[in-house]
Amino acid sequence: MNKFEYPVLSIRNLNKQFGPGCNHCQNQKESTLIKNYCPVCGTVYACQDISFDLYPGEILGIVGESGSGKSTLMRCLYFDQEVTSGEAILSTYEHGERNLFQESPQRKRYIRNHLMGKVYQNPLLGLKMDFTSIGNIAEKLISAGSRSVEEMEARGRELLEYVNIPAFRMKEAPKNFSGGMQQRVQIAKALSNRPPILLLDEVTTGLDLSVQASVLDLIKYLQREMNISMVVVSHDLGVIRMLADRSMVMLDGKVIEQGLTDQILEDPQSPYTQQLVHSLL
């Protein structure tokens, strides 16, 4: 990371809650919540006051246990869900002068389709399982305005080859594919518009170790060759260690530690992170 570079993406004070909140939890959040949950009104504070910067070409890792709010954060960043409050600035959008979260649904769609790509933890959410693989890639290109069959077919073929799906299977539906292949189709789709930012939510979870390794290699390769900035979420510190230059540790909806991944691993500050690191060793 170069300190003198401007971030491509800046997130400030992002909050996401499920439920209306009550007097009890809105006033002194710290003392009254059980993990991320208000015992009085049942509101879940899934993401609390999250701020971070993503620099050009870097991979930022987010690690944390199940339920810590990682996927919720990613859904908010991709506008799958509305934030409760907060700010997101994209340097390549409107000279970085607009809070993305306050844009209209149409503008948000534009940003999603032109400036971002996402790979979902659950491939069912990222792909149309019954459509062809190349059709899934075309979906993103069509959303971004392409109306040429020939161009889309060529681009789709190129991308599928790039992620190691053989050309003769490109008209097959992802439902026929293994988990690792489905994730690679998702990656190809996410890359189709050459987005400056890629969001990857647990891309390797649930895959065999050898398949995991091939997907991780692909991500490393993308960073090197395409200089894409990525946010990589995983509950597996091993994956984060392998991919991310900088990382954040989340717990109960909050960022409890952030910095260079190596530093966090060598000298974890919070007791939770210490535990996490020890379990890795």
Partner: protein, 289 residues
């Protein structure tokens, strides 16, 4: 004629409600207006959406034509015609020019429609994005935001799977550059007839409880790709074996004896009219076909 039904089967309140939905549909071309689809003496899926429109609109002066896949004489068409003339006591016809209301399934007649006529199309599946997005809540959002990538994605899929943009029927159209609409399962051949149609076109889906409309002189464009433009079915070098017509939508029939494919007009009343025209005066004009 005596009948124990109210005029045109429905009570006046029901007809008014359907007409209100219809007016809204006309005001927002291509937009699917929900309505309280009624129980009918024919099963849903057999044209109850179209029939409800027809019954809500028909007046004593109207002349009705009903066609099913191009034919005035199919059992369905005849049943619908019977029900309407029974309960409304109106006259029916097979001649397109003469009709004021034309209820149809799967076709738009060959004879160009005129201003003042109403074409009522029966619709099994009103949502053009349904295969792409199963949730009604989501498709509503997509329409609201004019987000129609899904329609093009489905067309792209078709091209990938079949190597051609030639969809079977119900090829989606963009209406008034705002709403993507299912034109009902008419052949692509009939899509251009919707563009700037002089007649009002109403579409009714009984099972799905939707009414939508193309008002006269509205721009209707079939969706396509830049490098794969929309094309209608071509019958270029074909002519009807009965009436000799060319440039109309034809059915392919394989001759039992020779095994050869022959062609004949799908629109039976058009075909008959052409045959009558071609007959020399005093000829056997009502020869069975």
């Amino acid at each position: 004629m005596k009948s124990h039904y109210n005029f045109a089967f429905f009570d006046e309140g029901s007809k008014r409600e359907i007409r209100r939905a219809t007016l809204k549909a006309i005001a927002i071309p291509g937009y699917q207006v929900p309505f309280a689809s009624r129980e009918m003496p024919i099963a849903r899926g057999w044209g109850t959406g179209g029939l409800q429109l027809t019954l809500s609109l028909i007046g004593k002066e109207d002349v009705l034509k009903v066609i099913d896949q191009g034919s005035d004489e199919s059992v369905n068409a005849v049943n619908i015609k019977k029900l309407v003339s029974h309960t409304a006591g109106i006259r029916s016809t097979e001649e397109t020019e003469e009709a004021t209301i034309i209820q149809s399934r799967h076709r738009i007649p060959e004879v160009p429609l005129k201003s003042g006529q109403i074409l009522v199309l029966q619709v099994p599946m009103p949502e053009p994005l349904r295969v792409y997005e199963p949730s009604e809540l989501e498709t509503k959002k997509l329409h609201a935001e004019k987000e129609y990538s899904g329609a093009w994605v489905m067309l792209f899929e078709h091209i990938m799977k079949y190597g051609t943009a030639a969809t079977g029927a119900d090829h989606p159209v963009m209406v008034h550059n705002r709403y993507v609409m299912a034109p009902s399962p008419i052949p692509r051949f009939d899509n251009p007839k919707m563009d700037h149609s002089k007649a009002l076109i109403l579409l009714g889906a009984g099972r799905e409880k939707k009414i939508y409309a193309v008002p006269p002189y509205t721009r209707v464009k079939s969706i396509d790709f830049d490098d794969s433009p929309f094309r209608v079915e071509s019958f270029e070098d074909k002519s009807c074996r009965l009436c000799g017509s060319t440039g109309v939508f034809m059915d392919e029939i394989v001759d039992d004896q020779s095994g050869e494919a022959v062609y004949q007009c799908n629109d039976t009343s058009y075909c008959l009219a052409q045959m009558n025209k071609n007959m020399p005066v005093g000829g056997t004009s009502n020869e069975q076909v």
